[in-house]
Each structure stands twice: as structure tokens, then as C-alpha cells.
């Protein structure tokens, strides 16, 4: 939520302007209309139509297939803009990217071109992985596809997929199905199912499932009954399904960050609006020191999450081979950080977060809607498990100080030209560990060199403490040993700490590569927040940095929230 600058015609700015216009009373994005739909558990079809009219689907299609997607950060910012207004709409619209990404990664050129055309024409694409009895355990899937002997080949698809976003509305569905009865990691394949090409009776939709949040979303199921698919429905080679989908999730998990950041923007904005209104005693809650401190911590939490989100989105291009780590960190940390932020603000608002001061129950709806972000596309548990599997490699790379300098420089400098995303460079485990974290000691040394000139002694001290905590963490990570399927509980705590170190390191790298005007106070706020969450000692002087962030929020123009992006506006290289 930054002001438009003459240098940018960024699509997310355009979209934000449009959404603002469409939030006038009675229009598709107004609080009243969206709250009423939520109450009726009705799909926000008008809002979705507006996003189609804006041309949002073209950003789901890579430039090489005729779309507008050449920077993954654009998707993150667009989803953030929509999520700032309504998460149900964002989840319903953004799902098409998740549905399509496997084809972008592994599809034949002709197949990708066809899908690209459909999406630009407004087709809805869904992605059906989970089943009623197997949750996140993809290798337990029972939906099967068998080769058809007669005719020109093809596949016969049978079984049920359940709890799938948009599966009833979808025109096309990417389906993971067992193609080897024995299963295993090479026992599944992916298919792009075009519903319009199926014989009558080959599929059945299951009723919408009532949900805690995003109540209007089409969360439903689909049953295939001997559905005959043409040979060209197969994505990639038979047996590659699990590999392709795991790589696709490295990308989409990173995209989910945009939804959480948008929800965080909204939470801060709503809270700030309330806190700056005079109460019945004539006093503004924002004048209370405890309120100011809490608001400051919430701003720091969002800036920290935003730092991680910016670096993660750029890493899709610049550190592609490390996305098994980066995406797991981003998807585990950002939704959890924003859930925490919303919960703390809700405490602060007290009953007003839920009741009369919020006539459309915006805050309560936001809290409900955001809960799902930490669950879909792989829960925090799944993502932390993926990190723990990579602890030995991460600890080793950190100890040896090994990282990809070129990729790191590109990932952490928003002004650097971004190389095209090359899906073939995605790897199921990172070959280099995590460059963002392995280079932290070097970044801290750089801050030392700036001491007294562009870095304050306070910043040097905070950076030094972050480095100490990160050193100790990696020693603990290196000591974790476990046999298969017996991940010790404390390893999950270490994974959470690793996420915090990654986020704080992201903020530090961004600052070091930033334009000279970049505000050091925001970086200090991020580091204080990270150290606090890492249970490192944080004293009163440190926490005063949070108050400065609160002031930035509370004095911001209505409808805006401090963002790291502010510092980068209009600074192109």
C-alpha cells in the first residue's frame, strides 16, 4: 500500500486502484457485499468477474506461453493486493495458478500453449491432490489411472479427490493419480483433465464443504468413474507425478506468502483505524504506551515476513535450486507470523475486534479466513518436516560458509535484473543449502564495516546477536539425528528458529543492498522482533525501536501500512 510513483505502472498498483474503486458501497469489493456473501456462504462471483475483466489470469501464464508472468514477485504482489480486501476472493482466483503450474513445469509445449490459451480466455483450473482418508500423504492416494489398450492410447481415471478448492467450478483439473499399483515415489502420474472432453457420467461433483473461514469458497470434491482421458492429458512422463507436484509446490507455497501479507496489511490497517479513533472518554487508544508497543511489534512482524516474502519470490528465479528450503521456510513462517499478529491485535482490540466498532465484522472474518493459509498447499508441519530432512546439508553449508553469491545478490536486490525462471533447475533437495542464511556471518561483517558511518552501533549490536543465535542454532541442527518417520519434537522448534534466522537474514541483506535512503529503524525493528521470537534477551532500549514503527503506522495516511517496498519506490537500476 504505497503511493504510486511516476516510475511504476506496476500491475499490483493498478489492481489496488481498481479494488479501491470497486469497494464503494454496493460494488463487488465493498465490505458490505463481501460480508453478506460470507454470511450466506456464497461464492463471490462478481468479484471474481471483476478480476477476470482486469486481466489477472494473464499473470498466471508465463511470458513464454504468451502470458504476462515474467517475475514471480508480480504474482505475490497481485495476490497480496486482492487478499488485502478479501481472502476468499484471493484463494478462489489464485487457485488457477496452482492448477496450471505443473503444466508450466513439465508439460509439452503444445499442452502448455493450449492451457495458456484457455486461462487467458477465463478458464478456471484446479489442482486435485488430497483424498478423504489420506490428507497430506500423497503416496497413499487411491485414485488410479490405467492405460487404455484400445484406440490411440489414453488413460482411464477412477476414484475420488476431496477437499479441493474450486474443483466444482473448474473447467480443467490437474489430478495426481496412481499409475503403478505398487505405488511408491515413481508410482504416480499427473493428468490435466479437461472436463468438457469427458463422456457424460464420467464425473460427479461432491457438495461444497462448510468451512471455518473462506466460507464462500468452493471447497468440494470430485469423483471420476472410468473417465477416459486422451493420451495428451498426461503431464510429463508416467511415474513423474510426485516429483512434478513437489516441485510445483516449491513455487506455489511461495505464492501463498502474498495472501498472508495482504491479510497482515489489512489487520494492521483495521487496528490502526480503531486505535486512532477517540474513545468515549475522548482519548485515543494509540496514546497508551502499551498499545503503541503492541502495534509496533505487529508492524515489525509484518516487515520481517515481508522481507522473507520478497527474497523468497525473487529466489524462484535466482536461487531456483534452493527452493526446497526457501519455499518451506516461507510457507511455514509467513502464515504463522501473520496468524500471530492477527491474534495479538485481536487481544488489543478486545471485544471491539469482534463487535460493534466493526459493523461488518471485518476483523473477525479476517481472523477466520487467514487460518486456512497455514494449512493449504502443505501445512506448517509438512513444511517444517521438509526443512528437518535437510538439516544435515543446511548445517554443513553454514559451517563451511558455502553459498551461491550470484544468486544471492540477485535474490536480495530488488533492483537487480531477474533471470528468467527455469523450472528444470528445481531440485527436490537443495544442493547448496540456504545461501541467504549461510552468508549471514559475511553480511554481519559488512555491517561492522559500516559502523559509525551508515550503520549505527545499535544495529551492529543487533546484527551481532543475530549471528550468535544463528551459529548456536546450526550447531543444534547438526546434532539432530533421527531414524525414518521418527523426527524428534525439538527438531520442529529448531525449524521454527531457522525460519526466523532466514527472515532476519533476508531483512539484513535487503538493507545492505538497498538504496542509501533505506530506513535503518525498520531493519532494527525486524531484528528486534526476530531476536524476541528466538527467545534471545531483548532489553527496553531495543524495544523502543518498535515504538518508532508504531508511529510510522499510526501517522500513515488512512488505508496505508508501512512497507519495505516504500524504500524501493522509484529506485530503478
Amino acid at each position: 500500500m504505497t503511493t504510486a510513483s511516476p516510475h511504476t505502472t506496476a500491475p499490483d498498483k493498478e489492481l489496488t486502484r481498481l479494488l479501491h474503486e470497486l469497494s464503494a458501497p454496493g460494488l463487488a469489493f465493498s465490505d458490505q457485499v463481501l460480508a453478506a456473501l460470507d454470511e450466506q456462504e456464497a461464492f463471490p462471483a462478481d468479484a471474481i468477474r471483476e478480476l477476470d475483466a482486469f486481466g489477472l489470469p494473464r499473470y498466471y501464464v508465463p511470458a513464454e506461453h504468451g502470458g504476462a508472468l515474467d517475475d514471480f514477485g508480480t504474482i505475490v504482489r497481485l495476490l497480496r493486493a486482492v487478499s488485502r480486501v478479501d481472502l476468499t476472493v484471493a484463494a478462489a482466483h489464485g487457485k488457477t495458478y496452482l492448477g496450471a503450474v505443473s503444466t508450466w513445469i513439465a508439460g509439452e509445449p503444445g499442452q502448455a500453449a493450449r492451457l495458456a490459451r484457455h486461462i487467458r480466455e477465463g478458464a478456471v483450473v484446479s489442482c486435485a491432490l488430497t483424498e478423504r482418508h489420506h490428507g497430506s500423504d500423497l503416496l497413499a492416494g487411491e485414485v488410479t489411472a490405467q492405460p487404455v489398450a484400445e484406440g490411440n492410447g489414453g488413460w482411464r481415471l477412477t476414484g475420488e479427490k476431496w477437499l479441493i478448492n474450486n474443483v466444482t467450478r473448474a473447467d480443467q483439473v490437474t489430478v495426481l493419480a496412481r499409475t503403478d499399483p505398487a505405488g511408491g515415489p515413481r508410482g504416480f502420474s499427473l493428468f490435466l483433465v479437461d472436463k468438457s472432453r469427458l463422456a457424460p457420467g464420467a464425473l460427479n461433483h461432491l457438495p461444497k464443504v462448510p468451512t471455518y473461514g473462506i466460507r464462500g469458497a468452493d471447497i468440494s470434491g470430485i469423483v471420476f468413474r472410468d473417465a477416459v482421458l486422451p493420451a495428451d492429458a498426461l503431464i510429463g512422463e508416467p511415474g513423474q507425478g510426485v516429483e512434478i507436484i513437489l516441485k510445483a509446490l516449491h513455487v506455489t507455497r511461495t505464492g501463498c506468502v502474498g495472501m498472508s501479507l495482504g491479510a497482515g496489511d489489512r489487520a494492521l490497517e483495521l487496528a490502526a483505524r480503531f486505535m486512532t479513533q477517540a474513545s468515549s472518554q475522548g482519548r485515543r487508544p494509540a496514546e497508551l504506551p502499551c498499545v503503541r508497543r503492541e502495534m509496533g511489534e505487529a508492524v515489525a512482524a509484518l516487515l520481517l515476513a515481508e522481507s522473507l516474502g520478497m527474497v523468497a519470490a525473487r529466489s524462484v528465479h535466482a536461487l531456483t535450486g534452493e527452493m526446497s528450503v526457501v519455499s518451506a521456510v516461507a510457507k511455514a513462517h509467513v502464515p504463522a507470523q501473520v496468524d500471530g499478529l492477527i491474534a495479538r491485535l485481536l487481544q488489543l482490540l478486545g471485544p471491539y475486534g469482534l463487535l460493534d466498532a466493526d459493523p461488518h465484522r471485518r476483523f473477525a472474518k479476517l481472523e477466520r479466513d487467514h487460518r486456512i493459509i497455514g494449512i493449504f498447499d502443505g501445512s506448517s508441519f509438512v513444511n517444517r518436516n521438509a526443512l528437518i530432512e535437510q538439516f544435515p546439508r543446511l548445517a554443513r553449508s553454514y559451517r563451511k560458509g558455502r553459498w551461491d553469491e550470484e544468486g544471492l545478490a540477485e535474490a536480495t536486490d530488488p533492483r537487480a535484473p531477474l533471470r528468467p525462471f527455469r523450472p528444470q533447475e528445481l531440485r527436490l533437495i537443495s544442493g547448496t543449502g540456504a545461501s541467504v542464511v549461510a552468508s549471514l556471518p559475511a553480511a554481519v561483517a559488512q555491517v561492522h564495516d559500516l559502523a559509525g558511518s551508515s550503520a549505527s552501533h545499535r544495529l551492529v549490536d543487533l546484527a551481532e546477536r543475530l549471528r550468535g543465535a544463528t551459529d548456536r542454532l546450526h550447531e543444534a541442527m547438526a546434532a539432530v539425528r533421527f531414524s525414518p518417520r521418527a523426527v524428534p519434537g525439538h527438531a520442529f522448534e529448531l525449524a521454527e528458529r531457522f525460519e526466523l534466522c532466514f527472515a532476519a537474514a533476508s531483512a539484513l541483506h535487503l538493507w545492505l543492498r538497498g538504496p542509501a535512503v533505506t530506513d535503518e529503524a525498520r531493519l532494527r525493528g525486524c531484528l528486534v522482533k526476530a531476536l524476541t521470537d528466538l527467545d534471545e534477551p531483548v532489553d527496553e532500549a531495543d524495544r523502543e525501536d518498535l515504538d518508532a514503527l508504531a508511529d510510522a503506522l499510526l501517522s500513515a495516511p488512512p488505508g496505508t501500512v508501512p512497507s519495505l517496498l516504500d524504500s524501493w519506490e522509484g529506485t530503478t537500476r
Binding site: E243, E389, Q390, P392, L428, I429, G431, S483, P484, R485
Partner: protein, 90 residues
Amino acid sequence: MPESGIETPTADSLRSWLIDCVATHLERPADTIDTSLPLSEYGLDSLYVLAVAAELEDHLDISLDPTVMWDTPTIDALSEALVQELARSA
């Protein structure tokens, strides 16, 4: 030069390194590991074996596609595949 100090790993030396590696993960004696059985039979699931691929990369100082563990799921097959991979990257 590989960190292991092995000059040119052979299928045999790789096999015995893999046996030790797998035995350590499973916390069981090396002589109870059958090199002709898929590692999944021992409970090394599809994601866990990817971590073994990372150890192999560090041991041999080469870059591997971790899915080699899925395509050659037994220690015997993996040793042969690695010898070929080393010959290619030499």
C-alpha cells in the same frame, strides 16, 4: 578430490559406504542390510532417501539429481548408477 579419500570409487566401495550409511540411519548392524532389497523395505521413505542423496553428494563431491534414489531404489542398483555417473562427470 572426494573428501572420503577414496581415489576412484568402485561399485564395491560405494556399496559398502551405502551399507554403512543406511545401517547408521536405521540403527541396525550393517550385516543385516540386503543390498538387493529396495530401501523402502527398510522403512526409508521417499523423502528420507533424498537426504541420503545429499550425503552421497557430499561424500563423492558431485552433484546428483536426488531422484536417483527413486529410480535406483536398491543399494546394488544405486552403486552401479553412481559408478556410471562418476565416469560421466570425470
